[in-house]
């Protein structure tokens, strides 16, 4: 579930409020958006992907909140990792993050070949 919107990074563009499919967030006048309905979060990570400022942290637990230490998250290297691996925004032309989703079928074939080879 979404755990943090980091004030130090958030530009209050409210993009996350717009794109959250389950309407977890709310606009707060002259402030950063508020996590208004955390229990509705479906842990889809879409807010992280759409946040150009890497200001959001979603915890993996999809059943209950799991509070995290903000300082630890800020230095963890986890913020923005998802958006970078997707090659979004400023990462679009970085050859390390080329979209290789098309390899999915090959991966399944490799797994099948391993089984055939008895490994």
């Amino acid at each position: 579930m979404i755990e943090l919107i980091l004030e130090e990074r958030c530009a209050a563009c409210n993009k996350c409020v717009e794109i959250c499919p389950t309407n977890v967030l709310a606009i707060a006048p002259d402030r950063i958006p508020r996590i208004a309905r955390q229990e509705e979060c479906e842990t889809c990570f879409m807010c992280e992907l759409y946040c150009p400022h890497d200001a959001i942290y979603v915890g993996p637990d999809c059943e209950k909140p799991q509070p995290v230490d903000k300082g630890a998250i800020l230095v963890s290297g986890l913020l923005g990792e998802f958006r970078r691996n997707h090659g979004w925004d400023e990462w679009a032309n970085d050859p390390h993050y080329t979209n290789e989703h098309w390899q999915m079928e090959n991966v399944f074939l490799r797994a099948r070949d391993l089984v055939k080879a008895g490994q």
Partner: protein, 529 residues
Amino acid sequence: MSISSSGDTLHLEADVLIIGGGLAGTWAAAAARQAGASVILADKGYCGTSGVTATAGPGHWWVPPDPPELRENAIRNRQKSGFGINDPEWMARVLAKTWESLPTLHGFYDFSKDETGATRYRELRGPEYMRALRKIVDSLGVTVLDHCPALELLQRPDGSVSGARGIRRQKGGAWQVNAGAVVLATGGTSFLSRLLGSHTNTGDGYLMAAEAGAELSGMEFTNYYTVALAGTNMTRSMSYAFATYYDEDGNRLPIPPGPDIIRPLAAAMLKGKVFCDLSRTPEDIRAKVPIISPNFMLPFRRWDIDPYRDKFEVTMHGEGTVRGIGGLRIVSEDCGTSVPGLYAAGDAATRELVAGAISGGGNVNSAWAVSSGQWAGEGATRFAVRQRGRDSGRPIGQAGLRPVSQHAVDLRATLSVVQNEMLSYDKNIFRAGEKLKRSGEVLDDIWKIFRAHALGNGADVLRTRETAAMLATARWSAASALARDESRGMHQRDDRPQTDARLEHRILVGGLDKVWTSGDRSRPLELAS
């Protein structure tokens, strides 16, 4: 399109209303617009992130037209694996439509090239795919209503559907769209199982259509499950192709490789915790996983688990009618339902026509969404042209909106009964007649109370209707599974292990206060070619 407003209700008019803005809904909106209709698309969440495609990566059913034997063989194989209830003509139509459709995303989706330099159209990454479709519907002039869940359909005196109404959950108040025809692209339902991306998919379209008199089909095929790291919803399956499973004592479980892991894994999970590692994954694939499926590693990284080295506990999340197959019955080649002016696309419709009695998985289901979406959008446009005037019909929602007498009904408790009957491995995977009969009785009992007394108020109205939809869907599923008195495809009955040739037909289901089932003897579905 015209706009007016009375009180706190936004009134809109359009030729075609699309309900649901996921994969099928966006393709439907684009096709209706290109056929000349004015189009409104209402999404419960945000069109672009809502639904199960946005968190996934569909690899459409994709077979080249030349040489023709390729498609003939693909169809023949699928007929065999679909256990006789799919239809070769629909399969051919879907293969052709998908093949011609995906290249039209050029300019909106940044297609990858493989090592031979060939453009890869087939496998599209979910968030990018849905972002592209959102850009397409915006560029075509579709009016998109985000965060506008539909609550009920409107119906004309002649029985045809004339629009819908719902709530504006960010802007406040209500909306009503009077339309010539309506496409339901509301997705399937996982009964809120915590399947990735399915939280908005609560079967609303099934309930709304049934209230208008529509039938469903294939609702017994609702028992596909997908593995995830315990405590998470990360049901991305690719990396589990290399999984090794263990019991609580660390003994390796004899789970056969391949697709048939659900029953043996469920049997093991009923005995105790099941663990897994991905140590068989080749090094070069490990390095690529973050740029193939970027979300897969997120939970492991954040919990500091190395899945290639550590054993981690796994669970399975039920897919309901998502990777299951059932949905609204399709009665015409333009994806019309049995109600005039009401069309169904994607997981809101039955996918038996193409998938048969086994899961459509990502391939067949996404090809179906692309194709059925466009056929439904075009069909709705033709219906709207014939329908002169935009006179408003009557709102027809029942359970949760118009109770006989209002008493408080516990939504959480109701959902928990539905989930217990529809998701528990014991009842839903290891099916038997007696268990299904009992499920039907339990669900009927709570339906009676819910129908008579539940009334959604204010912010509760959406969850009330969602709960009603899941409860109704569960009843159709239990009744269909009981009526299919045999084992076929994903539907395995421990008390009827054989396939019965007399049941080689689709099973229809419907009804609200009284659920009925019947055999669909009309196959093969007639196609005016």
